[in-house]
């Protein structure tokens, strides 16, 4: 009796003290299908997957694989039975080679000695089969994120995995790399694998998935054929209410030029001769492929990297911005791409995270005024609608969207003229994204200027006044608001 069901998770429940994280969630994965699992952050997607891989013990429910009940104790055990996960945050030994990572935990040995030759040969065969062109001897650290991810996928395939869970696999890939990923996913599907695909990106879900399951508040609220769904329908299911618009109305009006950049060139980065003007109250988008120098523009402007420029003029005054301290003094602010790594101070309170860039203003003689810091933090929490039990809560306890609001708050307190935003909505769910867009638009409306880097073109087109497209470290051109994604892509490929 083969009904094509590969993996069946039925009525899974899991409670943590005070929270019912999963409430009778179910998921049916069929052989040869790509199944999207969607939902806002906190809807229970990752908890469900953690129950599958035995990282959490579920309170109720049943999991069957090929009709037989299973309960994995660890991801290793799951892997051995053909259930693999490609993590959002890659877990790899970066100082070791590709082959070492691939076969970690199961090196082929002969008489206790690792058989290097077999390892290299097997790696080569596996890569050839998947169309991956990475040198097995390369050190992981030297590879791009997408290449590392390919290694992770190859690893899952090499275990003969039948069920592969992808957790936000394209969040750090360029379009081209994503295409390669989709090819491999389709290949796996055609080979009879079942793919669970977790992503926030509607466009790609609708492109490559056959079935979509949407989660909300720990329940699986709908499972539908992808053919019958639209982006709006999915958002409606996820949010549980009509979200009329993905982007707030444009209310900012760019005025006179405040920042003039001429011939910005990175000393150690690929930036070459980047020139542009930024107007007061303007939101300037920066688009381009991964490695085109998007992030590097912000880093150079903020003094994080060594650079040279023919001219760097802020409000008619020539500036240098050699270090972040100088940049901050000149009214610059940077919201970094890797929130957890370079944005938040995880174990410290929201108050400390909020005031950290502005401490000078709280000095009363030798002491910091606790009262003033508390007042400002409370004001940020209420004005940016940060959802938190208190200002003393460690910031790592908040969701990604709320952490991001705190970081925006941190910079707002410095009253910046120029805000540099690097992927400000990465890893943030749909509802919170809208709020972040609203904050950005409001800032521009107040006359602050924004430079926003993003790999998601719809969002750039949604909120920017103009988009500067980079290609190979150079400016390939500027796109206006009414440009199409295709036009931007063409520009992005100009100097590749």
């Amino acid at each position: 009796m083969d009904d094509g069901v590969l993996l069946q998770m039925s009525r899974i429940s899991k409670s943590f003290p005070g929270v019912r994280a999963l409430d009778g969630a179910s998921l049916t994965l069929k052989r040869g299908s790509v199944h999207a699992l969607m939902g806002e952050n906190g809807a229970g997607k990752s908890t469900l997957m953690k129950c599958l891989f035995g990282i959490y013990a579920m309170d109720e429910g049943e999991i069957t694989l090929n009709g037989a009940p299973v309960s994995f104790k660890s991801s290793k055990e799951a892997l051995e039975q053909g259930v693999a996960m490609v993590h959002q945050e890659l877990n790899q030994a970066l100082k070791r080679s590709v082959a070492d990572n691939l076969w970690l935990g199961r090196y082929p040995t002969r008489w206790g000695v690792v058989n290097e030759r077999k390892m290299q040969k097997d790696t080569k065969a596996l890569f050839d089969d998947l169309g991956i062109s990475t040198d097995p001897k390369a050190i992981m650290e030297t590879l791009s994120v997408s290449k590392r991810q390919m290694v992770e996928i190859a690893k899952a395939v090499s275990y003969g995995a039948k069920v592969i869970v992808f957790d936000e696999p394209t969040s750090s890939l360029t379009e081209e790399e994503a295409e390669q990923l989709f090819r491999i996913i389709r290949r796996l599907r055609d080979d009879g694998c079942g793919i669970v695909y977790i992503s926030h990106k509607m466009e790609e879900i609708l492109r490559i998935c056959d079935t979509v399951t949407v989660m909300r508040d720990g329940k699986t609220v709908a499972t539908e054929d992808a053919k019958h769904l639209t982006t709006d329908a999915i958002i409606r299911l996820m949010v549980g209410r009509e979200l009329t618009q993905r982007f707030p109305p444009k209310e900012n009006t760019p005025a006179e030029t405040v920042l003039t950049v001429r011939g910005l060139t990175g000393k150690h980065s690929i930036l070459r001769d980047v020139s542009f003007d930024l107007r007061k109250g303007e939101i300037l988008g920066v688009a381009g492929l991964d490695g085109s120098g998007r992030t590097e523009v912000l880093e150079a402007l903020f003094g994080l990297s060594e650079k040279s420029a023919k001219a760097l003029i802020l409000e008619g005054r020539s500036i240098e911005n050699k270090t972040p301290r100088q940049a901050i003094a000149n009214g610059f602010a940077l919201v970094t791409e890797e929130r957890r790594a370079t944005g938040i101070f995880g174990i410290r309170s929201i108050t400390e995270n909020t005031v950290i860039s502005n401490l000078r203003n709280y000095l009363r003689g030798f002491w910091l005024s606790q009262g003033a810091m508390k007042r400002d933090t409370e004001q940020i929490i209420s004005s940016l609608r940060v959802k938190t039990p208190s200002a003393a809560t460690p910031i790592r306890a908040l969701s990604g969207g709320n952490q991001q609001k705190v970081i925006f708050g941190r910079w707002l307190l410095t009253k910046p003229k120029i805000l540099l935003l690097d992927e400000p909505t990465r890893g943030i769910d749909v509802g919170a994204k809208y709020e972040i867009y609203q904050i950005i638009t409001d800032l521009a409306k107040q006359g602050r200027s924004v430079i926003m880097v993003s790999g998601e073109m719809p969002e750039l087109l949604g909120i920017c006044d103009r988009i500067m497209v980079l290609s190979g470290g150079r400016v390939a051109g500027f796109a206006e608001r009414d440009a199409t994604q295709e036009q931007i892509m063409t520009l992005a490929a100009k100097y590749v």
């Binding site: 290793k76 993590h87 877990n91 030994a93 100082k95 070791r96 990572n101 690792v114 150690h268």
Partner: protein, 343 residues
């Protein structure tokens, strides 16, 4: 265009000088020492450097493992001290007036070797267990265990009528086994322990590079979480690395006792610091997951050349500490440059 090339060339040359400054410094130092005293490059002097390096090498290889796990081991020196004193006390000549255990017959060497290795292994096992199971930083664990070991050593030296005196009068079979010689260069004998050290180094090269355990050690040092989700027994590897380190301290202790002949509570003092310095100079990085056997060898030998060289130059021994410290700082700074992403 030509101007640009020239600039790039100058930049490359600068990089070369900075990255290899240690070797350049060493060459300069050797030249200076030889000019001052040509005997520095004589056979006895070179054999001296070689054998002093060989005596320290097993210990350094053990500590290198702990550093590759992005840890450290402060208990090494005291472990060597305890094992040296125990080995020495069990292998004193019968009839020696100050014998610690007067009734004790001369034990067979192999029995004491096994005991030394077992003691080292046990110390390492305890270190590794605390690090892996209680998730304590190795710095804390070994800071504590080195105190405990030192206490035990002091108590051991009070046994019987010994009353804390140093232990000497070692049996000829023991000293002959360690410091005797089967090979001479001219009239200079190469002590046997040099060969034991070479053997152990080869064995360790094999363990590091060719075995699953070795590869797992590097993987755990590079990213313990990745190793865990790949099914590597991280606890096992950690305990294993520290235990292996302990066994190597056992080797060092057994050799050291016979090499210096008279063992006291000061035996082994600060050995771990020299070994850690040697590892770092040799490119075993505190970042974790990085290190090569040849780096450790190079580090140990380099440091030894510097120490011996300073003595040759008859530099004040107090000043020698200052110079050693500076060398370690510079070496680490150069090492770190390689891992900084240039921006």
């Amino acid at each position: 265009m030509k101007q640009k090339n020239k600039g790039a060339l100058r930049e490359r040359r600068r990089e070369f000088f900075i990255n290899n400054s240690l070797y350049l410094f060493l060459i300069a130092a050797i030249v200076a020492i030889v000019i001052y005293d040509p005997r520095f490059l004589s056979v006895p002097s070179l054999v001296n450097i070689l054998s002093l390096s060989a005596a320290n090498l097993p210990l350094a290889l053990g500590i290198a493992g702990a550093i590759i796990l992005s840890g450290t081991d402060l208990s090494a020196g005291r472990a060597v001290g305890l094992i040296a004193c125990v080995s020495a006390s069990l292998l004193q000549t019968s009839g020696y007036p100050n014998k610690m255990f007067p009734a004790l017959q001369t034990l067979p060497l192999w029995a004491v070797i096994l005991l030394a290795l077992a003691m080292g292994g046990l110390i390492g096992l305890i270190n590794g267990f605390c690090v892996a199971k209680f998730r304590l930083h190795p710095f804390i664990v070994t800071l504590a265990t080195q105190l405990i070991i030192f206490g035990l050593l002091l108590m051991y030296l009070m046994i019987g009528s010994n009353n804390g005196q140093s232990i000497s009068g070692l049996d000829a079979s023991y000293t002959e086994f360690i410091t005797g010689s089967v090979l001479r260069i001219g009239s200079t004998a190469i002590p046997n322990y040099v060969f034991y050290s070479v053997g152990i180094t080869l064995l360790m090269w094999f363990v590091w590079n060719k075995t699953t355990f070795g590869k797992n050690m590097f993987a755990v040092g590079s990213n313990p979480e990745a190793a865990r989700v790949s099914g590597v027994n991280v606890t096992g590897v950690t305990v294993g690395v520290f235990t292996l380190a302990g066994i190597l301290y056992g080797v060092t202790g057994f050799i050291e006792a016979a090499r210096i002949g008279s063992n006291s509570a000061a035996t082994g003092l600060n050995y771990e610091l020299d070994a850690i310095a040697a590892c770092v100079i040799g490119g075993v990085s505190f970042v974790g997951g990085i290190g090569k056997i040849r780096g450790v060898i190079l580090g140990v030998v380099l440091l030894r050349i510097i120490f011996v060289g300073l003595t040759f130059l008859s530099i004040d021994s107090n000043l020698q500490y200052v110079i050693k410290g500076l060398i370690i700082l510079v070496a680490c700074a150069i090492d770190m440059r390689k891992y900084l992403v240039r921006k």
